[in-house]
Symmetry: D2
């Protein structure tokens, strides 16, 4: 059974992580129903997943702040949580704040660097090797100090620019040599964190569009170290809807001429994506899906824009123009008004519970049954949400 | 292999049937791509389904009109089809017009009666028994005159008021006695057509919310006569979306607080539904679904209103209010601007092809694998569209 | 200049009144910017309107509750205000609670009666005469106790059913005789409050669809007593938009074929309007407008439905179908997501300030320059918002 | 009274001009109601404006095509007009085709040049002076051949890139010298057409975002030549709505935090605007408005994207985030589904009738009373649509 589990978040004081912390504390204290948590319902409740009391939160962040301050920003700007709730979780916040260490900013792009606080800037000249070493030390110290049986590292940090494509064809030994050589090295932080996690025997979840573990070399390393991992890019809003609605148009042989999606929101993720270099990663992650589902490429457009007043409330408008019988053109539009961090955080908790369970069960390598959680699911055989969810349920039923 | 197939429509000059006729003629002549037709794509193309040239159209209607006139109304009011296309299908229209016979208006409600033309009004005093006899004679004469191997009867007529609930507990022998007795008899026309179809050895598809074959007695009769049937109420717009989106909210444990759906449109179906008696049947057909999918009953509201200027363009606005992590309320809205007859007609052709194939294959009784086509699918084990479509694909693959 | 002004609200603990109280206290303490207040901007700031410190709140309500409790409900259900703000206004709340007296429920309909608390139920058998007498006593006692120079009575109570039409052709002497006779009397509470106000020398603002002062007899009485009044039905959301957008379609000679408006919300107003008798008054108030603006009657539909989860957030979807050049049909849709009480409350404060100023200036009878504030503006010469607002500005400029 | 009037369109075979031609012919033959025409309603019907029979169409275009071909493209792609109507106007089309001359492409940008046909490419090396000379010759020949009393030149061509800012500070004599010198000259075609028009004594209407007459030098020339002109950029859709809705937010003191507008459409205008150089002119024309109306600058975003399947149907989604009482954030969204050419064409006819009337009445220089027709109205004292329309009505009433 589950014992003590470390939940180590990269981007530990960001909006998603702060919501994870708030929610975890509220769930431990029985202050909230487990809404939005996939693993809180059948058939997953039949599995011996870790309970809310089993978790200790730690992580890396490049900013110097506290959970209380960040949660208060979410309350002030986006009216999520409530002052009463934040008082009730303050004690857990204070404890977990102690477990946050300065982050790494190798190859993260200028935009992200601009947010770094003094503690992280002190390590600004770190080589990739030094960064890995420091991350490993932080992870191992966390595990020892809290007597943890297992640690799951989750990337919930801001989106990096896409890395050089040369990384995709590199083996793990080649990548390792490159790191050790001290030469110029294009490996971004998201991947360095993952390397450190694997080398420390930790499982890894990549909840962001950053490349992270989505490289052959990383999968090689995971198998070598016998750890599990999954990713890429949590599927919370517009893309979730594409993976749900797209199959309907396909099944009905309604030809999608164009699918336009405009996303506006005002949280820090939005500020980072305002930089075209970072946005490229995100848009790419959102755009390939329809072609896979439909079997042809409709005209598509995806925009993501920072609109400050919206705070964490992501509003998406999608216009789908399709052709039916006798070439008749019809349209569907939707608007999605969801709170980004609140949609993402329960999925992070779900992924950590499922990943910890797999690690405990002795699995290793890529977990392909988690496709329903990701925009760009690694190793998943289908782009359709219903089929992905079926895979998750089938997996759960195979594990009773 | 398929030989000559009769496609007998009840409501033969209505919007859906007129679109079926237009589309069938266009498909035979190669004037259009088979968009919107489920059976035009994999894996259904691997089955030896009837081809477009194999069909002869006939039917019943209570109005006196022609395909050319009705198609022109659709063009004038709703800008579907085009004058050029209507010229090209005029010859088929003229031939098929010859096969339409006066309809039956036993227990159809005052609203529908008000549309009847003189030919149908001549039979206004018909008893149910007389109506069945007349329908059978029309069907059998159609089959003989056109040397048809099989006839599929499809109900695409206006929605009747719900019948007395006593019918639901009646066996076929009891129903038969009641009909033969000449006593007051609450059996509505949609069921009389189905009885006549079964007694004449025809298959039956109920594409409307009218009760039709959705009675134990009718299934009994179908098995006795060794015919196949399916229904109820073609799933073309808002309900299709509920069966696609509902499972997403369920899978993600997002609690749906309320789901409001307002439908506006201006075709004849809209005029009929403007009568509260007829509307009751429709709203009921649209409203039970969410509870089945979610496992609890959110507050729901479904309105259907006749707005003349919209013609055949049904516009639906749905507002879904749901609660996520930490009880955070979020919203999704969609508008669906679809042309009702153009969405329905290809599904009618699909159902007729699949039904004819099953009849040819020697099946009998209720076809439960067609759930994805219906709002209230009889005998279907799941309310989720993706699972229903999976059943259809599985069936097809079992038939190669 | 303004001295001490009584703001007496009928429906004193309702959502709008509670928001007025919260806002007034916040404005007095400088805790908020005067957003949403028309009179806080040019050219109205040039008039010597009463300041926030000049007001004392009192009123009637049929329920037994407190401002603190009601404000907390708004916070809990609709996430308006904030716990911090509610603490800061608690002291004013406690003082004003002391000024609320049991209401009157003569001819208010069953739905409203069902909400009455014991204090009001004690007066359940009151005749109209007894009710007027009691209201007058309350008003006069309020004025004396707080040494007020002037009192403005504002109706912000739930909507009554429409009264018998005989009232519309009654003179004030006839109405007076009827009241004094003790015979059956169809005069609803909204009008009884207004009579009492006028007889006590108070000004009156009817912010609701209830008939209130919208009767010739009442205007007669106002002139006799030399008091000012205005109304009817605050224009806060969908109707505001109709009076803004309608003139655009008219000016451009775009023919509006249909205008459909669906309103959903979950506050107490919604519960009251769920009763068809009460709703009739509201829908009537919303529906006449377009014909006046356009000069012809498009097909219209207005629905108002109670959806509990929405709380005070009124969501309206409007679909406007219009015809342009060469008969081309086009469409505009909008959704309005506004918080009803927060939209209404500043207008109440505006109206009270403007009314008090007029009373102080010695005006009497109907104030026709306030048309921009009302759905059914009494005595206003134009249904167009821009022209109505122009009238308000012109009035202000004439008063410097 | 009006006699024979030349309507000379620059961009004569474009979507707007083709719709003008179609509509003018239909109006002459009484085939359509004058919907969408401002001048077809009170009080403008009281002015002796030119009748539909008084007009002769001519113009310049850089492409080689015909009205019949262009109108058919609109029918095929966008389902506007109808084959029957196009037959009825064919004769007028054939006559007017004879009056179209090769256009000018000096400083129009690469995107527009790429559309030029051989007849226009033959003049590709024309200097500005040569271009003016050729335009004048075409205009004067048109006037003589058709014995026209007056000619109104209307620019309905594709949007050019913005010109060098040096033009804005140039006097007419300086500009004239520059043209005559044969030196490099940044004057774009839209301005060259206007110069030629003025020099030939023609009135000018700039219906596009191109700079055209919006330069001090041009106004100088107009006064010198005693001709009237107006502009800039017809206000047909989203911007019209901004000028209608913006004043409502201002009047109600609702603080607009952000106003996001996304426009998608698939006509040739869309293809031209897909080039960032050309788009700059358009976005600028759409974006300054809100600041003028509100008195502060909210965060704004305007996107215009080419989505082929939409044809001439411009779909705009606007999201307006605003703050009301006590800082409460609310939202309005709208979608506008309008057919661009069909919205623009009647305004072109209105402007030509009003301009011809002013010319006939002996006015000269800029017509400032036409602000309601334009996105960036030259010389107009107010950005609010209702006030602009009031100015138009006031002008008309002054002219009886």
């Amino acid at each position: 059974m589950a014992a003590r589990v470390g939940l180590w978040m990269v981007g530990a004081w960001g909006g998603v992580a702060t919501t994870v912390a708030t929610g975890l504390s509220a769930l431990r204290q029985g202050l909230t129903e487990p809404m939005g948590l996939v693993t809180a319902q059948e058939p997953f409740t039949k599995l011996p997943l870790a309970g809310w009391d089993d978790f200790v939160i730690g992580g890396h962040d490049i900013r110097d702040t506290t959970y209380a301050a960040e949660a208060n920003v979410l309350w002030e700007k986006s009216r999520v949580f409530s002052p009463g709730l934040l008082q009730q979780v303050a004690e857990d916040f204070a404890v977990w704040d102690q477990n946050i260490r300065p982050g790494v900013m190798v190859n993260v792009g200028e935009r992200i660097k601009s947010f770094a606080g003094p503690k992280t800037r002190a390590f600004a000249e770190d080589t990739p090797l030094a960064a890995i070493t420091r991350i490993r030390r932080d992870l191992e110290e966390f595990q020892v100090r809290h007597a943890l049986d297992r640690v799951v590292v989750v990337n919930v940090a801001s989106t990096e620019p896409p890395p050089e494509s040369s990384l995709k064809s590199m083996t793990w030994p080649a990548m390792k040599s490159l790191i050790d050589s001290g030469d110029h090295c294009p490996i971004p932080s998201s991947t360095l964190y993952a390397i450190a996690a694997f080398e420390s025997g930790c499982a890894h979840v990549n909840f962001t569009p950053s490349v992270g573990t989505d490289l052959p070399a990383l999968n090689e390393l995971a198998l070598e170290r016998k750890v599990v991992h999954c990713g890429r890019d949590g599927k919370t809003g517009e893309t979730l809807l594409k993976s749900v609605l797209g199959p309907m148009f396909a099944a009905r042989n309604l030809h999608v001429n164009s699918w336009v999606g405009h996303n506006i929101f005002g949280n820090m993720d939005g500020k980072v994506l305002d930089d075209p270099a970072n946005k490229a990663n995100k848009v790419q992650s959102k755009d390939h899906l329809l072609t896979e589902i439909l079997g042809y490429k409709p005209q598509t457009l995806v925009s993501i824009e920072y609109i400050e007043s919206l705070g964490d409330w992501k509003t998406a408008w999608d216009h789908i123009h399709f052709e039916g019988f006798l070439g008749t053109k019809m349209a569907m539009q939707f608007t999605w008004q969801g709170c980004d961090s609140l949609l993402a955080a329960p999925l992070v908790l779900d992924l950590v519970r499922l990943t910890e369970f797999e690690a405990r069960s002795g699995s290793q390598g890529l977990m392909t049954f988690l496709g329903s959680f990701f925009k760009s699911p690694m190793g998943c055989s289908t782009p359709e949400f219903a089929a992905q969810y079926r895979q998750l349920v089938d997996w759960a039923e195979s594990r009773f």
